[in-house]
């Protein structure tokens, strides 16, 4: 027994050292930094300053909209695409490839492409919309549309990825179960609701936390496309942190915002895991 423990210790040590240095210690560090790092002349604590900062409040609001706005459509579309393309025909394989391609490119490359797609007037979107008689739209420059445009870019980028999991999940639904339901006279929609969907519980349990993680940790497109503008309308939490750390040189505010993001991420991910877990139990 102790021999195994010793072996385990040696085998786990390299990973543990890096995890300590770059995952756990940082959390501790921001916790301390957020309480101690001050800014010359500022008489408020970092958290008080953070909660009083309208830019932070805006970033939190935007991030909520962004999370719901990216996760709901991309997961729904992914499921629909998966249902339509579940059979492995040659055509389906080709269509799947087209849908998955955005996953392979860097988010900054996607942003570079979309900077043209969304260009008012001459861009890919407006150019072809004009043929339908639709006037030019300021997709990234209108504060009412900019976040929506960023959301559209994210949905484009991630849907194919989630689709892959649903295809795998659907493959695991036993055909006998569907056949039995068919014999019972269940219509397609009812079969989907009562047989297929519950069986996809674990897939949702997988996809939703990943989608949530993406919504909180991916801001490359904001950095390169909008810099959070216009008027803060596309500023997300991590972008706010980046701004405080790199641009405003305010480590205390950055640390406080980081700790809140980490806490939110942990709480939400665990929450999703739990809720789905329960969902799966109910279903079975």
């Amino acid at each position: 027994m102790p021999r195994q423990a010793l072996a385990a210790l040696l085998l786990l040590a390299p990973s543990a050292a890096f995890l300590l240095a770059f995952s756990y210690w940082p959390v501790l560090y921001v916790a301390v930094e957020s309480l101690t790092a001050g800014r010359g002349g500022a008489d408020l604590g970092n958290y008080a300053r953070l909660f009083a900062d309208p830019h932070f409040a805006q970033a939190v609001r935007n991030n909520l909209v962004y999370a719901v706005g990216t996760i709901a459509p991309s997961v729904t579309l992914a499921l629909l695409f998966a249902l339509a393309l579940r059979d492995s025909t040659r055509l389906n394989a080709m269509l799947r490839t087209l849908l998955v391609m955005p996953l392979l490119i860097p988010l900054v490359a996607a942003a570079a492409l979309f900077s043209f797609v969304l260009l008012p007037g001459q861009g890919l979107l407006d150019w072809y919309l004009a043929r339908l008689g639709i006037a030019a739209t300021n997709w990234l420059g209108d504060p009412d549309l900019a976040l929506g445009s960023i959301i559209a870019l994210t949905v484009w980028k991630n849907t194919g990825y989630y689709m892959l999991f649903f295809i795998a999940g659907l493959a695991a639904v036993p055909q006998e179960l569907l056949d039995a339901a068919k014999i019972d006279g269940a219509r397609a929609l009812a079969r989907f609701r009562h047989v297929t969907l519950p069986m996809l519980g674990p897939t949702f349990g997988f996809v939703l936390p990943i989608a949530l993680l993406n919504a909180l940790t991916q801001v490359d497109h904001v950095v390169t496309l909008t810099q959070g503008g216009p008027s803060d309308s596309t500023s997300l939490l991590l972008y706010y942190i980046y701004q405080q750390a790199a641009q405003n040189d305010d480590p205390g505010l950055a640390a406080a915002a980081t700790l809140i993001s980490v806490a939110a991420l942990l709480a939400l991910s665990l929450g999703t895991f739990r809720a789905l877990d329960r969902g799966i139990h109910y279903a079975s």
Binding site: R39, G40, G41, A42, L119, P120, G121, Q122, A135, A136, N138, L140, G141, D142, P143, D144, L145, Q227, G229, P230, S231, D232, A246, Q247, N248, D249
Partner: protein, 440 residues
């Protein structure tokens, strides 16, 4: 006693050794980095690489690696990070209005000693440049930035659009009243043609806003002290009201924020009658605009004024004397009348050194291109560029409000008040340790 002696001995030993090393190295060029941004449209990064290759080929002592670092704001972030990491580049072409902040943060070296070794006083040296450039280059009496590429905003307008709208292209709008009138006449419904466009993205937005405020007689910020801005002064309120009028009432400017690409794209396609853009884009517009166009001064309300823009060469702190000397050599070459004239002709930026315009090539150029002459003539009305403590954040406090105004999300009065409040909060740490710090 012993310590002193040991130190003296050490110095005595080290000196010749250092000389030996230097002598041995003399054959080898000093390698330095230059960070440079490309803030306007055009193939500038390509051209800058070519320029640096030429410099490297012309002399054996210095070998420069030019690193393209994105926009002015990006270049600022990267330079700051490099300094903090203890790996400062030897020279940077920095947005001229960030120089003050580097001085406040003690992150740059002054040029005074280098200027002195050529037998000049800093003041004599700066006399060779256009006077409007001085406030962003000389801070607290010392030279921290050597102007390299400079600009002012210009009014570009399409001749065909003017004729089509019943306007006289020989008489571009000179006052705000004429400007609004022209914008309204040029506007055709459904976005077929806008009266006026300008880039409202970060950096450009603040620059143009400050220009409007200055044309309205305002200061916009305290030129002499980095802790004050005048965002809610009547001159600023008037400028914001002008934008509100043209965007939200007359619908002569497209709502929301347009970037430079959208502006030039619309201008080239005849979908905007006028645009405000940097003189640095002159060559880009000249080579891409198919139909005739002209340029004019920024229209005035109370006075003609145009903010200086552009980049200056700075020497970040933390470089060895050897590297500083090498950088000085590069700076002198880049800002020489010949090279800065060449760069000016390639880009449209004006050459900061007055002597550049005495060269035959430059005379011919200004004669050939009347738009370049307008840019040069506007220089007499040039005013310093916005610079404060924490420049970018304070600039953004106004930019966010202007962007909101462009989308009818706020009113001029609310925007002015909110911008001032935001800026005051950002400036507070600096104000408290300077202007508000009293003797005990």
């Amino acid at each position: 006693m012993t310590i002193t002696r040991r130190a003296a001995m050490g110095a005595a030993l080290a000196l010749p050794a250092a000389n030996l090393v230097r002598a041995a190295r003399a054959a080898e060029p000093v390698a330095i980095d230059l960070f440079f941004p490309v803030p306007v449209q055009g193939m500038l990064a390509n051209e800058m690489q070519t320029l640096i290759e030429r410099f490297n080929g012309q002399q054996p002592e210095v070998r420069v690696t030019a690193a393209y670092t994105g926009s002015y704001d990006d270049t600022n972030l990267k330079t700051r990070a490099a300094i903090k990491a203890g790996r400062p580049p030897a020279a940077v072409i920095m947005s001229a209005n960030f120089v003050r902040e580097y001085v406040i943060n003690d992150e740059v070296d002054a040029f005074d000693d280098l200027i002195g070794q050529d037998g000049k006083t800093p003041s004599e040296y700066m006399d060779a440049f256009w006077p409007a450039l001085r406030p962003n280059a000389v801070i607290d009496g010392r030279v921290y930035g050597i102007p390299f590429q400079n600009s002012t905003p210009l009014l570009y307008y399409g001749v065909d659009a003017f004729r089509d709208a019943g306007l006289d292209p020989d008489h571009p709008p000179a006052t705000w009243a004429e400007w609004v009138d022209a914008a309204v006449k040029l506007t055709r419904p459904n976005g077929q043609r806008w009266g006026l466009m300008f880039p409202g993205t970060y950096d450009y937005c603040g620059w143009i806003t400050s220009g409007l405020v200055m044309s309205n007689g305002g200061q916009y910020f305290n030129h002499d002290y980095g802790g004050e801005v005048f965002y809610d002064a009547p001159s600023a309120l008037g400028a914001l009201s002008l934008l509100d009028l043209m965007v939200n009432k007359h619908k002569a400017i497209p709502p929301g924020v347009s970037d430079a690409n959208a502006c030039t794209g619309a201008f080239f396609a005849g979908r905007t009658g006028m645009m405000v853009l940097s003189t640095g884009s002159l060559s880009f517009v000249r080579s891409n605009m198919k139909s005739p166009y002209r340029v004019a001064f920024m229209p005035r309300n109370l006075r003609n004024a145009a903010p200086i823009g552009g980049g200056s060469l700075i020497l970040p702190k933390g470089n060895t004397p050897e590297r500083r000397q090498a950088a000085w050599k590069l700076v002198n070459w880049l800002t020489s009348p010949e090279i800065s004239g060449e760069w000016s002709r390639f880009t449209g930026y004006f050459a900061p050194r007055k002597a550049a315009y005495d060269l035959p090539d430059m005379k011919a150029y200004v004669q050939q291109y009347p738009d370049a002459k307008v840019a040069l003539d506007q220089l007499q009305y040039a005013v310093p560029w916005f610079d404060t403590y924490s420049t970018v954040a304070v600039r953004k406090a106004m930019e966010d409000q202007v962007q909101a105004l462009l989308s009818a999300k706020t009113t001029p009065a609310e925007a002015a008040a909110a911008a001032q409040k935001g800026a005051d909060a950002l400036l507070r740490p600096y104000v408290e340790r300077t202007a508000l710090k009293l003797p005990a």
